[in-house]
């Protein structure tokens, strides 16, 4: 039986940048054992020599001619911004501690 502790889930939530409440952490940790047991079945098979498939199509790099195509105006690009300033996205402080 696999399991993931409340602290394990809290660490993953931190990595995924989701601030979870205590009850969410406890609920997820209780459901995770069952889900992990189900997906861990992929480890039952002998997969030596089998190639991995990341994508259903055998793709190579796709390039198009380097020509200018219509794209969004600055106004359109900013139209959904939670906050903006001087035609730019205004974001909270990204470096260092608040002064």
């Amino acid at each position: 039986m696999s399991s993931l502790s409340r602290d394990d889930v809290a660490k993953l939530a931190g990595l995924a940048r989701i601030e979870m409440t205590e009850s969410e952490l406890v609920e997820l940790s209780s459901q995770f054992g069952m889900i992990l047991d189900a997906v861990a079945r992929v480890q039952e098979m002998d997969l030596s020599g089998v190639k991995a498939t990341s994508h259903p199509q055998p793709l190579e790099n796709i390039a198009r001619p380097d020509v200018v195509l219509p794209s969004l105006s600055p106004e359109d690009a900013l139209s959904g911004a939670p906050a903006q300033e001087e035609s730019r996205f205004r974001v909270p402080q990204i470096l260092g501690e608040a002064e």
Partner: protein, 498 residues
């Protein structure tokens, strides 16, 4: 008028017997009358739809040749961006967002003169099988309003089965078109991966996602398929090849000499009795029409569910990183001195629902160092084996078949607290997505024990989508003559009128 097929509506429009404005208004009236019960739509754009309809009528009056289904109204799954129209993917994190651009599917619909009436409900970011994971409440199955219409495209399947729209667009990452089609008694097709552009389709799992058509008949579904498919330079995974002749195939509907493979692993134990009975009956009908039925063995399919629930969450944990509260959508906790990371984490907690968080965390775990090879790496290798199983099976048969879903529509609330039980509903649809091939679900009748619709699934190799329509149309015609009337005529009346 609303009970006609899309093909009949298109015909009446072409002959001048009705107008797109009248047809659109009739459907908008139907939505007003019954959507309070069904809740298929998140947003109805009556004004925009009528303006589009008026424009199509004017173009037709001038003698312009637009498309086979010009002027016919449609419901659009809320996962596709439509310029200026609220687009949420069923998530609170996108509440109020109005895209500044059209997805390629929407551009194609607009240039074909198909009238977009509104955006349909869905499981948040297409993660779910019942539409109960929507951030805006569930959609209800027109066959029984206490049951789910399937998911994740449950709003689209409910809209078409309740005659709110003759056509709809959905998206199918693990069965999200085929399963809701099965549960509501309509036709749904997941085209070959890369056949329909993903530009403007809000991404869940990029190697599995594919938009596709819903209709009440095989031909209607083909007419819509032809409009939305085709190469697009804006999607690097878009296939640069001619669109398969799906409309011709839907019109011919012949299975004489066709080899139909029954997948051993996708029937029997775990499948509801009435589902299996209707499936077996459809097989006999196909045999009676001259098809040759063979059994095929796909041993790796036993692991498909586990593979899917590693690959899809892994890709989603990466794709949904874009919802960072910086450029669009919700932002919470942006108080003086709060760091960008704190705002991001608070916003993602407030904006994402339980299932989305569950899958992001699962994906983060499966991709984390030390576990990557054991989980994501193994899943990718079994994906190869599943593709090989299909290749062997298609060497023995032109199309493969199975029941679409193991059960008929279940009660709302029945599985919402048991994620594994919910995931099991996708067991027969997921292999198609993992292999990037195409699949259709069409109604095979009602299960004896509950009088609810059963779906019959047909699968074909990549870019052989026409085979789905050819076999589907043959079965549909035979079933129709057996029943004497379309299956939806057996659904209860909505809007209080019994």
């Amino acid at each position: 008028m609303i009970h006609s097929t899309a093909a009949e509506m298109a015909d009446a429009l072409a002959k001048g017997e009705t107008t797109s404005v009248a047809l659109t208004q009739a459907h908008l009236d139907r939505i007003t009358a019954v959507d309070g019960q069904v809740k298929a739509f998140l947003h109805v754009d009556a004004e925009g739809a009528l303006a589009q309809a008026k424009d199509v009528d004017a173009r037709r009056a001038k003698g312009e040749k637009i498309s086979a289904i010009a002027g016919v109204p449609l419901a659009l799954k809320d996962v596709l961006a439509q310029k200026g129209v609220p687009t949420t993917a069923g998530s609170k994190i996108l509440q109020g967002w109005r895209p500044p651009y059209d997805s390629t599917v929407v551009s194609k619909l607009k240039s074909a003169g198909v009238v977009i009436m509104g955006k349909t409900n869905m499981d948040e970011f297409a993660m779910g099988s019942s539409t109960e994971n929507s951030g805006y409440g569930p959609t209800f199955n027109p066959w029984d309003l206490t049951r789910t219409p399937g998911g994740s495209s449950g709003g689209s399947s409910a809209a078409v089965s309740s005659f709110e729209a003759p056509l709809a667009i959905g998206s199918d990452t693990g069965g999200s078109i085929r399963q809701p089609a099965a549960l509501t008694g309509i036709v749904g097709v997941r085209p070959t991966y890369g056949a329909v552009s993903r530009f403007g389709l809000i991404a869940y799992s990029s190697s599995l996602d594919q938009a596709g058509p819903f209709g009440r008949t095989v031909l209607d579904t083909a007419l819509l398929h032809e409009v939305i498919a085709g190469h697009d330079v804006r999607d690097a995974t878009s296939i640069n090849a001619p669109v398969p002749a799906v409309v011709n195939a839907a019109k011919s509907g012949d299975v004489k000499g066709m080899k139909i493979g029954v997948i051993k692993q996708l029937q029997g134990e775990g499948y509801q009795k009435g589902v299996q009975t209707r499936f077996d009956e459809s097989l006999q009908i196909l045999a009676g029409l001259g098809a040759e039925i063979v059994e095929v063995d796909c041993p790796s399919f036993e692991y498909a569910l586990a593979v899917y629930y590693l690959i899809a969450p892994s890709e989603c944990s990466s794709n949904l990183a874009r919802f960072d509260a910086m450029r669009y959508g919700l932002r919470t906790g942006d108080v003086d001195g709060a760091s960008a990371e704190a705002v991001m984490s608070a916003t993602r907690d407030a904006g994402f629902g339980r299932e989305v968080k569950r899958r992001i965390i699962l994906g983060t775990y499966a991709l984390s160092s030390g576990y990557y090879d054991a989980y994501y790496g193994s899943a990718q290798k079994i994906r190869t084996l599943i593709i090989q199983d299909y290749a062997k099976a298609f060497a023995q048969a032109d199309v493969l078949v199975s029941p679409t879903a193991p059960t008929t529509a279940y009660k709302i609330g029945e599985k919402v607290d048991d994620p594994m039980a919910m995931y099991l509903g996708d067991v027969a649809t997921i292999p198609v997505n993992l292999a990037g091939i195409c699949g259709m679900s069409l109604p095979a009748g009602l299960a004896d024990e509950d009088n609810l619709p059963v779906g019959f699934q047909i699968m074909a190799p990549a870019m052989q989508d026409q085979r789905l329509y050819q076999a589907g149309a043959a079965l549909e015609a035979a079933l129709l003559s057996k029943w004497g009337a379309p299956i939806l005529s057996k659904a209860p009346a909505l809007g209080g009128a019994k």
